[in-house]
């Protein structure tokens, strides 16, 4: 077993633990923090089904962003849905036998990487060119885009230009999952790709990527407009009624 394989195996265990543990901890914090007042952004749905629909439109179609700014919407949507297809395509490296629908989306997933990269470039261009967005950008905002672009470009490079032995990569991944380690092919481009992915997983729970779980806990989006019909009091506010 090479040192390289051991290093990457441990790195991925660590990254997975940080990602799952960190996000679970944040979700615990969000869900255990009380919501003392009804503050949905009106007009809001009057039923729970309506809220599920609103959240669905928000998460799938980016409804509020669409109302707000068509450029951010189109670039943001290209990036996120490109990424989704790419991620789903990658399931082939973690399953044996590969599920039928994953096989089906392979070609789409491969080209979706370009859509994802185009979206990222568009978002980055706005960050540099639009004075308002430039003003609010921090170094980490730029680095996050660089990180995602790095992942996308190294992935595309392997997929279309400098092919890596996919079977060996898959053996490595399955080996990790079954705690029966297999050698990782020492291809530089692959190592770059995997390192960046691990880094992304590690920074996820301590960065703005928390918008992903966060949106589901946003009271302005997930509350039902029923304040006159149902009395809603937080535990810490109950003593005011005495």
């Amino acid at each position: 077993m090479s040192l390289l394989t051991i290093t990457f195996a441990l790195l991925f265990y660590l990254a997975t633990a940080v990602l799952i543990g960190g996000v679970a901890y944040k979700i615990y914090i969000y869900s255990s923090t009380p919501v003392p007042l009804k503050i949905p952004t009106m007009p809001a749905p009057m039923t729970t089904t309506g809220v599920v629909m609103r959240m669905g439109r928000e998460v799938v179609l980016f409804e509020s962003l669409f109302k707000s700014n068509k450029w951010i919407w189109i670039f943001g949507w290209m990036f996120h849905f490109g990424l989704l297809l790419v991620l789903l395509r990658h399931l082939r490296y973690f399953t044996q036998p590969v599920w039928g629908w994953v096989v089906l989306i392979q070609p789409f997933g491969r080209y979706a990487a370009f859509v994802m990269i185009a979206g990222l470039l568009g978002l980055w261009a706005r960050r540099i060119l639009v004075d308002r967005v430039r003003y609010i950008s921090t170094p980490s905002d730029h680095l996050m885009l660089a990180l995602l672009l790095g992942i996308g470009l190294s992935g595309v490079a392997m997929s279309f230009f400098s092919h890596v032995d996919i079977i060996d990569v898959k053996m490595f991944m399955l080996g990790l999952m079954m705690f029966h380690w297999q050698e990782l092919p020492p291809e530089p481009i692959l190592l770059v790709h995997l390192s960046l992915v691990a880094l992304l997983m590690i920074v996820f729970p301590i960065s703005k990527l928390l918008h992903a779980p966060g949106v589901f806990f946003s009271p302005t989006r997930n509350q039902v407009d029923d304040s006159r019909e149902v009395r809603h009091v937080a535990d810490w506010a109950v003593h005011f009624d005495q």
């Binding site: 009380p34 509020s64 609010i136 946003s218 302005t220 407009d225």
Partner: protein, 510 residues
């Protein structure tokens, strides 16, 4: 045009996104509350010595009490969707008036003290120590936000800057930096019962005078009852309705509606204020204490219904928070709220907006209008921010937009909406809401009104609109002051029930 010490934006009839100009409104600061005002509310009289630690401690407390704040601090990705949505940014060009930048004033500190990345890599993630300079920035810019929630409509995560502003003000109050305007008014409500500090006897006098005026005007003895036990309806209305122009015209309108429909009603001298400035400073305890007067009045007078007059923030508090705070509503299973809910008539929404009352009566044919009485008016409607984005009416989707417009169309023949991106959920704040309706912020108020003034100018130019109806006491007061800066007549603004008042038939035989 009124003489001014600052440049009044030029109106084009539409609003464009300006290039930012750093520090453009840094000099705009509302007066600090003095020791007396602060201590009346239980806040420190001046900036406490250990303000740094106290502020961080308070921030931690609020992060643990408000999920919204907690999520909003983490979720922002700096996408920029909100950057051009605030009327104060559009009017002042100061980048710290962009919603995300206003939030970042707090988020930078949050990151520094409450997150791993900010503790160890502050520069990288834009984290900052809470310095005196930052605290002063908080005071300036959290009192340059009207808590109108327009940004929250456009944020992909629903981040509501109003919640951040409220938390900011709450922290500032807790270390002794309160705002004179808001906190002084809160003191008046606690002492006297209304924001204007109008004592009971003066109120009774005013109402009697109004009754005489109405009778002289119409020949009908329309009453403005106060402290009548056993009345059906308790009307809670902003105290500006009692003597400010044009507010009082709407009060007369409500009285005529009750009169024409034969509904017995009363005001309360003890609880003569709908506005709840406790919300402006994000202080649950203050908000609760202010609201308690309404509960007490309802119980003492034994009323069956509680109706709220034309007041934006008040209606948000009433619609969204009263059930939580004082049990005005339905669906309670605790003794505190059940006591009141048993008394209130379940056939009506509790609380109800005066527009809901009037609209229902119109639908039933219980009141009749002579639309021609408003023929000299060409009308548009300004959706008040807190009604639009903080409440509902009529229990139907978008009812808060539909009901006032339907009432206007029932009492007048000429109505035109302003540009779609400036009304309904996208409405622009009047520029004076959320605790900013004070002369020391006049520059901000005038500049912040610019997007609304542009939209108004457009309908004035195309449809000769000469009346902008609204259902908020702050909007009315703000526009009365600000319209002249933009060379409009101050009398262009008025209430929806001012229009109702002109058109309603008082003769029961007709």
């Amino acid at each position: 045009m009124a003489a001014s010490k600052f440049e009044v934006p030029e109106l084009k009839g539409y609003t464009t996104i300006p290039l930012l100009q750093k520090g453009a409104s840094a000099n705009i600061k509302s007066f600090l509350a003095n020791e007396k005002i602060q201590e009346d509310l239980g806040f420190p009289g001046e900036l406490v010595e250990d303000w740094h630690d106290k502020a961080i401690e308070k921030m931690g407390e609020l992060l643990g009490k408000y999920r919204g704040l907690r999520v909003f601090m983490d979720a922002c990705v700096h996408c920029g969707a909100c950057t051009d949505k605030c009327h104060y940014y559009l009017g002042t060009r100061d980048p710290k008036n962009m919603p995300v930048a206003r939030q970042d004033l707090m988020r930078q500190v949050y990151r520094r003290y409450f997150t791993f990345a900010g503790k160890f890599f502050p520069k990288l993630v834009g984290a900052r120590d809470l310095t005196r300079e930052v605290l002063d920035d908080w005071y300036s810019y959290y009192y340059q936000c009207s808590e109108c929630r327009r940004c929250s409509v456009y944020c992909p995560y629903g981040i509501d800057t109003a919640e951040v502003t409220m938390a900011g003000r709450e922290i500032l109050d807790s270390v002794g930096m309160g705002q004179k305007y808001t906190n002084e008014i809160l003191g008046k409500v606690h002492r006297i019962g209304n924001n204007l500090g109008l004592p009971g006897p003066a109120l009774v006098d005013t109402l009697e005078g109004l009754e005489e005026d109405i009778e002289a005007d119409t020949g009908f003895a329309v009453k403005l009852p106060i402290d009548v036990k056993g009345a059906e309806v308790l009307l809670i209305t902003p105290s500006a309705d009692f003597f400010s122009e044009p507010h009082v015209e709407s009060l007369i309108g409500y009285a005529k509606v009750f009169h024409a429909a034969g509904i017995s009603w009363t005001l309360s001298s003890m609880s003569s204020e709908a506005g709840n400035f406790g919300m402006f400073i994000g202080n649950y305890e203050q908000m609760h204490k202010v609201a308690l007067r309404i509960r007490q009045a309802a119980l003492e007078l034994g009323v069956k219904r509680i109706v709220v007059g034309e007041c934006g923030h008040a209606w948000r508090v009433a619609y969204s928070f009263w059930n939580t705070l004082i049990g005005v509503g339905a669906g309670a299973d605790d003794p505190f709220a059940k006591m009141l809910q048993k008394q209130l008539d379940p056939r009506y929404p509790q609380p109800a907006h005066i527009c809901e009352v009037t609209y229902d009566l119109l639908q039933q044919g219980a009141i009749k209008m002579d639309k021609e009485a408003n023929d000299h008016r060409i009308i548009t409607f300004h959706d008040s921010c807190n009604v639009a984005r903080g409440s509902n009416m009529g229990g139907i989707p978008g009812g808060q937009f539909i009901l006032p417009r339907e009432i206007i169309k029932s009492v007048a023949n000429h109505f035109y909406d302003m540009a779609p991106e400036t009304v309904f959920e996208g409405t622009f704040c009047c520029g004076g809401g959320g605790g900013l309706l004070t002369d020391d912020l006049m520059e901000l108020r005038v500049k912040g009104a610019m997007p609304r003034m542009n939209a108004l100018k457009s309908v004035v130019d195309t449809h000769q609109v000469n009346f902008m109806a609204t259902i908020c006491a702050i909007c009315k007061a703000q526009f009365t002051k600000v319209l002249p800066y933009y060379e409009f007549e101050m009398s262009m603004v008025g209430g929806v029930h001012q229009l109702v008042s002109s058109a309603i038939r008082l003769d029961p035989n007709k």
